[in-house]
Symmetry: C2
Subunit: 329 residues, 2 copies
């Protein structure tokens, strides 16, 4: 199968939103009147971002999900994406499953595949995604104000807990791993919440490298600090609630230290961390309800720079949680 | 050096055209009123698109040039690009040279780096480029009409001749190779010509996979055929004119068959192949002059499907030139 046949067979769909989709030198998009275009790019490399034996359907899902998550963090509505794919060989069954996982998520968000590139090479997936939002309504990292509440959507830490289990760094009961693993392999981009938070949140980022790191980006860009109570952050792990409901003892398998590491610095969560003025608490709850996405208030923005983790009595904890860095030593 | 320091040091510039550049979850662009956005993505993989020992400055240039060439083929004016980069290690001298080559070409075209991704992995460069043009003025592959002239810009075949020499498939005098090699390593995107051809050309594509293949895309998308005189296409190779001026004998080194293969199917030329009605000949010449880009009329569009290569007497030649396909057996 040649390059053009491969594109035709697995990656060509109707693109009613685009002026022009796959098949010319460029694709053409036209944002609606008064709309701005949000753009984000993520590259996934085999052995770095996913295991060589990962289910291709999950991989297709995740490759787009991590990009959609960036649109969610900006309050943008997905429009389209491009896909550049380096493949070591043409494996039709693999491509079929990969494209099904990819396109199912794309279709769910009305996000059209408008172009791309395919080549031979070590398995690498590079997606650039396009969304739109009314001019000046983007949720930026730079808008947090002292006094704002800090929230996180959904649950945190399950993805990195699953990764730790798959890498043999922790042993989990199989049914717990089965519960946590989809959070690693098939994350849910919080598009609906991002849209509902337009005009409500003062700042937002997605949690890809770990909560502390990504909240840190908001603090840096906003020129503020924050405090968070983290003495018992374990409740943010979905697997904890799951295991507790099932009558299990979470801390038999997962140390408090690992649980906190997963929640605060684990990464791969693709939840939103965002801030909003206290006057917006009802509006935040309404956004949560409208998007069917749970949110939890986890801290406060403060004028003093730095991020202070507090124990249950309001004392500052020493901490050294590194967020993920692809080039850290 | 960490990921954020790497981005700050080598890949962060002012982005006055963008609403928002590097540093948030998404970059934000807003096309001008009545403008559409042209988008193209190309991925370059070490060992496939470039030699491991390629000069990083040239590589930075080429990685952006091949994308700008797609904008040129649409008649789009460059606005911005994203860069996703997988690196096996952080080599500061390499990154410095790569970013200089990349940014020099970007600056020459007012094309702003607005976002991207960096990760560890086999050396891979994925660029997505954004341009704009007035609505409905894009040069598409689909507009060629029977009777239109076919043109190609600049010269063809030097890039693939240089590649053949570097791979030891042909021996060239060193000064000829020195002349041809920059065409392989530092191609010139024909942006100015593309802009000048708005409203003049009926269809256009860039020559990346070889003239016959890329002209073939125009024919397919336009539902037409073409004839071209190709008995002596050697004159389209710049190195031929160079060697002749220097008193050399081109055919001592390069067989007529190889010369034709390079011109017709060589690829990596990044010239434009385009069509225009005969009534536009003066306008095409004016566009050529205005953009300081030579163009050569090489054939005619015909209603009958297929591409007919003619000898000097108008007889159809048998041919089997494969254009480049990354997955062909």
């Amino acid at each position: 199968m040649g390059e053009f046949e491969l594109i035709r067979r697995f990656f060509t769909r109707a693109t009613p939103k685009a002026v022009l989709g796959v098949g010319d030198d460029c694709a053409i998009l036209q944002p609606g009147p008064g709309m701005q275009m949000a753009i984000s790019t993520d590259m996934l490399v085999e052995g770095r971002h996913f295991f060589p034996d990962v289910d291709p359907r999950s991989l297709g899902h995740k490759a787009l999900a991590v990009n959609l998550s960036d649109l969610a963090a900006c309050g943008a509505r997905p429009l389209a994406f491009t896909l550049a794919l380096a493949l070591p060989r043409v494996d039709e069954a693999w491509l079929q499953a990969f494209s099904e996982g990819l396109m199912a998520l794309a279709d769910a968000h009305g996000c059209e595949l408008i172009g791309g590139d395919t080549t031979r090479g070590p398995l690498t997936i590079c997606i650039t995604v396009f969304g739109e939002m009314p001019a000046t309504q983007a949720l930026l990292r730079s808008g947090a104000q002292p006094g704002d509440d800090i929230y996180v959507s959904g649950t945190l830490g399950d993805a990195s807990l699953a990764l730790a289990a798959l890498q043999g760094r922790v042993t989990l009961p199989p049914e717990w791993l089965a519960f946590a693993r989809p959070r690693l392999e098939r994350p849910t981009p919080r598009i609906a919440l991002g849209l509902a938070l337009r005009g409500v949140a003062s700042a937002a980022a997605d949690v890809s490298d770990g909560l502390l790191g990504d909240l840190g980006h908001i603090l840096d860009r906003s020129g503020v600090g924050a405090s968070m109570e983290t003495n018992d952050a374990t409740y943010l792990i979905a697997a904890y609630a799951y295991s507790t409901r099932a009558g299990g003892h979470f801390d038999t398998y997962v140390s408090a230290q690992l649980a906190r590491q997963c929640v605060l610095a684990g990464g791969d969560d693709y939840e939103l961390v965002f801030t909003a003025a206290p006057a917006q608490r009802a509006a935040v709850q309404a956004a949560s309800n409208a998007s069917a996405t749970p949110v939890t208030r986890i801290g406060q923005i403060e004028a003093a720079p730095g991020l202070r983790l507090l124990d249950g009595q309001g004392n500052v904890l020493a901490h050294s949680f590194a967020s993920f860095d692809h080039f850290a030593a």
